[in-house]
Amino acid sequence: MNTEQLMTLAVNKNGFVFDPENGISYTVNETGLFILQKLQSGVTKEEIIDFLTEEYEVTAKNAESDLDHFMAMLKALNLIEE
């Protein structure tokens, strides 16, 4: 997984994300922000699921399906590459 583009994003603690290279901005919710920050620090998908279930009231199964969904959104937004 190529997260190069992700590294350039300016992420503020409220969930406002700004891409200074392209002038595009994004809004993420709390868990989206949580995952984005983990991805920026180079954590694997499996580890993120562990982090999510530790931090939040969620089963590993639901967290995994939601994470897949979220990664698909990031791909669609060209923020990560396969």
Partner: protein, 449 residues
Amino acid sequence: MKKHYTAPYIERNSAGNLNKYAHTTVVRHQDNIDGVPIKNLVEKYGTPLFVFSEKHIRRSYRRLLETIRIHYPKVEVVWSYKTNYLAAICNIFHQEGAAAEVVSRMEYEKARSNGIPGNRIYFNGPSKRKQDLQLAIQEGAYIHIDHLEELYLIENIADELAIKPKVAIRVNMDTGISPMWTRFGFNYENGEAYRTVQRLVSGGKIHLAGLHTHIGTFILDPNAYYWAATKLLNFAQTIKDNFGIVLEYIDMGGGFASSNTLIDQYTPGELASPSLDQYAEAIGAAFNASIYVKEHNPRLILETGRVLIDESGYLIASVLGKKNLPTGERAVILDAGVNINITAWWYKQRVLPTKPFPGTYQNTVFYGPLCMNIDVIRSAMPFPDLYYGDTVIISPVGAYNVTQWMQFIEYRPNVCLINETGEVDVIRFREDLSDITSREFIPDHLRQI
């Protein structure tokens, strides 16, 4: 204590979508109907599940009657069978005193099997066959004539049976709204309606008891009823003056809007739909200004079905799956689709979660279970997280669904009624394979495969 979880979400900002509250229609959940927990209903009767509230139905009927009576006391509200002809539902209205309004042989037979005598049935519609008319005339029903062939047919039957049938003629007219429903009945403005009465009177075989109109459906302008009533009453006066006939009743048909919102309507139904009082005031104003009414005090009949039943009906559905659409929206597949909830095509129905949620949303579109692209229950709107097995409640769905639903690839589900004391009865049981096969015949040569 772990934090409350919501599914992760990211959205690209652009002018026009930068408002987190823009489309937030869902601000609460509904976990019961008339105090009966949805969880219990789902455990016992499965999903999808239609649920009707008897308390709400009776309250709606009484409220309509009382509201109209304030403006015009001599009023009769009849039950429009096509809106919902489950026997239990019809009988609630019949117990309240409603006669039956039917539009086909099937509905006529249904009303009779519910115990309604012929002389308390108003027979509308453009497709009454000779046998249907014979039966209805014999049993003393009121026939509302739609076209001239029907008039001739009724005259023949009158001769054959030596009965003077009681009829009304259906009149269409310009009431300032569009579209004008000119395909039913006889036109007022161009004199067609007058000529029909002339023809009817000259035959001398039929008793003209009333005038009928039905100006359209989901009428958002109460004034249209003022014009319709004014025109019918003027016509009644003309009939009195020229033919000496005093009519028993003026039937204003139906068409009152419920709180539902039409798909292409911007202002939501709860804000755009007139109140019952506004409709009643419009009709009352026309009646109370009429000299004909002062002299002859005709019965006002209303056949307005949707406004009496739509909001009393709910549909509970379960989540079968989720997927991500290329648009970034989340799609949820429900076990109830347009096969049983056909009014989802015309209205933006309310979809609510059945349990509390933290107030975060994702754009969600609701699909039904059919393998067809048209099976959309609700286009995208912000909705709380949903997972497999969660339930949602869809409303209002009480009008037209349990009559227009179709038998396509699925069995039609249980329909429940919560009575006034909170007990639940199934008033139509879930279908099984025998419902599908019992009418079929397999020729001998096709029995072996």
